[in-house]
């Protein structure tokens, strides 16, 4: 496996992308380098490694299938380290130096764009603890910095789609006018046939490009529950499949839950941005995510035309036609701080948008605390309604 290290040009120590400075920093000599500087310096090396990866894959009669573990050699310490087939950047488990598996993001897997991390790990944990402060019913001791030290920065792959459409809608709209005369209330309902035709541009509709259970979060989660080698019977397999399905669902929810990102800040992809973080390559093609994208585009287009029908009390769509004139797909890596935590035998994923700090993930609940609070609210509601009742008597 072709690997790539970004070493400090000054001292040779490992370089990591620093989200705070938006520069590459060396932890040893404390030097900072502009992204352009590093990209220029390592451009030739990246190309060479990409070619090595392609040659390596061609030479292998049976290349690693996605989903299986792959062994690579750490360029710093020489240790053999296993990683999942979709991991494109990681840390050496022995020397903890950042390693970019250049070949994973080469050729057709090369992302078009990357949104660099803006939040450092400390800031991400800070955002998480800030959110926890507003949640008063967490179990005691849950919101501790130590618990979430294992947050890891992951670049997740997404498909981004822009479309330009011609769309036409025919709808029935109603206006109601109500007035009274004596003891009679009159309701006049006017019915209109409404038509709208127009050109629509819908941008930045995204879908996760990671579809299976081969990301870091899933691996972590599976370790806690069940591993492939535990499968011995049909029942074990069924249990494993159900677990995989549930985890895939959790992952997809998490990857959509951390949105929105400010995509205007995206940069053309450069391998060096991945240094110091974990990265996943996509394993879903355009065709895999097209049904989901098309369905959302259809709903959005219909909503946009419907929003132009104003001044009515109700609108019901009779017919809607659309034709996509232009379409643009881009494959982007987006920054997410992610972790899993175990609470009462349940593995819970938690993610923080690496750009905005938006938190996503199911939080554990202390039912006793909430029950007491709910009872206080109920008692207050009883008291207030009693007071209201007494005033009405």
């Amino acid at each position: 496996m072709a690997t790539l290290n970004y070493d400090c040009p000054a001292c040779g120590g490992p370089l990591k992308f620093n989200p705070d400075k938006q520069k590459f920093s060396c932890e040893y000599c404390l030097s900072d380098f502009d992204t352009k500087e590093i990209q220029q310096l390592y451009a030739a090396q990246e190309q060479k490694k990409e070619q090595e990866e392609i040659d390596e894959q061609e030479a292998q009669a049976n290349p690693s299938a996605d989903g299986e573990a792959v062994i690579y050699t750490c360029p710093t310490c020489g240790a053999e380290v296993m990683t999942s087939a979709t991991t494109a950047a990681t840390h050496c488990f022995y020397c903890n130096n950042p390693v970019v598996l250049g070949g994973r993001l080469s050729g057709e897997n090369t992302p078009d764009k990357v949104l660099p991390f803006v939040l450092t790990k400390e800031k991400a944990i800070g955002k998480f603890l800030e959110m926890c402060k507003k949640r008063h019913f967490l179990p005691n001791g849950f919101a501790s910095k130590e618990r979430f030290e294992k947050f890891s920065g992951v670049y997740f792959p997404y498909w981004y789609v822009d479309q330009q459409k011609e769309a036409e809608m025919v709808a029935t709209a109603k206006k109601r006018r109500v007035w009274r005369s004596g003891n009679t209330e009159y309701t006049e309902t006017s019915i209109y046939s409404v038509g709208r035709r127009g050109s629509l541009v819908i941008k930045n509709v995204s879908e996760s490009a990671l579809g299976s259970d081969n990301d870091n979060m899933m691996k972590e989660s599976q370790k806690e529950h069940m591993d492939v080698k535990d499968i011995k019977t049909q029942a074990d397999k069924a249990k494993f499949d159900a677990l995989k399905k549930q985890q895939t669902k959790q992952l997809n929810e998490m990857l959509s839950g951390v949105h929105p990102f400010d995509v205007s800040k995206m940069q053309p992809f450069a391998m060096s941005y991945l240094s110091g973080f974990t990265a996943e390559k996509r394993d879903l093609t355009k065709e895999d995510v097209r049904p989901a994208i098309d369905s959302r585009m259809h709903d959005y287009a219909q909503q946009l035309l419907k929003d132009t029908i104003k001044g009515y009390d109700s609108v019901s769509v009779d017919s809607f036609d659309e034709k996509t004139e232009l379409e643009s797909w881009s494959y982007a890596l987006l920054p997410v701080w992610v972790t899993t935590y175990k609470f009462k035998d349940e593995i819970m994923p938690f993610a923080i948008n690496g750009q905005s700090g938006k938190t996503y993930g199911r939080l554990p609940l202390n039912p006793a605390k909430l029950a007491v609070f709910s009872m206080i609210v109920a008692a207050a509601a009883f008291g207030l309604s009693l007071l209201g009742g007494m005033l009405l008597l």
């Binding site: 949640r135 029935t172 009274r180 003891n183 009679t184 209330e185 009159y186 309701t187 006049e188 309902t189 006017s190 019915i191 209109y192 046939s193 409404v194 038509g195 709208r196 035709r197 127009g198 050109s199 629509l200 541009v201 819908i202 941008k203 930045n204 509709v205 995204s206 929810e253 839950g257 951390v258 949105h259 929105p260 959005y300 909503q303 946009l304 035309l305 929003d307 132009t308 938006k358 996503y360 993930g361 199911r362 939080l363 609940l365 909430l370 029950a371 609070f373 709910s374 009872m375 609210v377 109920a378 008692a379 207050a380 509601a381 009883f382 309604s385 009693l386 009742g389 007494m390 008597l393």
Partner: protein
């Protein structure tokens, strides 16, 4: 001689008339105590009747705490409207009576009467109770059994008192009344509020950050190339509104002059 005899007879007749008149006047009775009042202006009760009545009225007062007032009136008055209001204003309010009182008036001259309560006692009179009391009093007036009528009035006051007055209870103890009669409404509101708090909060924890992930407005642009809004038809539907004016209460229970009761 004849003329003398006529003069003597006339003088005797006048004397007899005066004696008779003075005898009648001496039967008219009036006694006002904090427990009861008997004002027998129409001379309907004998001394024995009065003694019986006093005892019954005192008993009724002991049970109810109200001053029980029995008034007989022989005045030939033309009352336009409610006799209750007339006697409240011209008899009860002009006399030295207690604030909480139950009053019965018989007036055989106009063949009518009235009963009413004042102060707290008025809250024990309502349509249903008045309707039961009216025929009893009417019957006593018609059969001229005034003592029996007055005694039954006293008994009825004890009965009214024992039955209680939700309205007075509401007036004096709103908290107790609200709790006693509407506890289930407040409990229901409390359960809904508590359950909603639990459910909404638990949902916030479970679905933390799951919503509003795509902003369509800021990521889209619409250029209309054609639009029309064609009127097709219209129709009008009507609905009759029920007003509360049709459910006004009957005259028997309407308040007036600080008393409640009914005429008979």
């Amino acid at each position: 001689m004849m003329r003398k005899n006529i003069s003597r007879l006339s003088a005797l007749a006048l004397a007899l008339l005066l004696i008779c008149s003075s005898t009648v006047l001496c039967f008219a009775f009036s006694e006002v105590t904090p427990q009861y009042a008997i004002v027998d202006d129409a001379n309907l009760f004998s001394e024995q009747d009065v003694a019986t009545l006093k005892a019954r009225l005192a008993e009724a007062n002991a049970e109810t705490g109200w001053q029980i007032i029995i008034h007989t009136d022989a005045t030939n008055i033309d009352i336009d409207g409610s006799r209750r209001k007339y006697y409240t204003k011209n008899f009860y309010k002009t006399g030295n009576f207690e604030e909480d009182a139950a009053v019965l008036v018989f007036n055989p001259t106009i063949d009518g009467g009235t009963f009413f309560g004042t102060g707290d006692a008025q809250y024990y009179f309502n349509d249903s109770r008045d309707d039961k009391l009216k025929p009893i009093m009417r019957s006593a007036l018609d059969s001229k059994t005034y003592l029996d009528g007055a005694c039954r009035f006293a008994d009825k006051m004890v009965e009214f008192h024992d039955q209680g007055s939700p309205e007075l209870e509401k007036k004096n103890n709103k908290l107790g009344y609200a709790l006693k009669h509407y506890w289930w409404v407040f409990t229901l509101i409390a359960i809904v509020a508590g359950a909603a708090t639990y459910g909404i909060t638990a949902g916030k924890y479970k679905y933390n950050g799951r919503f509003n992930t795509y902003d369509l407005k800021s990521n889209s642009n619409t250029t209309l190339t054609d639009e029309y809004d064609n009127f097709v038809t219209k129709h009008v539907s009507t609905r009759t509104i029920q007003t509360s004016s049709g459910s006004s209460s009957s005259g028997g229970s309407s308040s007036g002059g600080g008393s409640r009761g009914a005429d008979f």
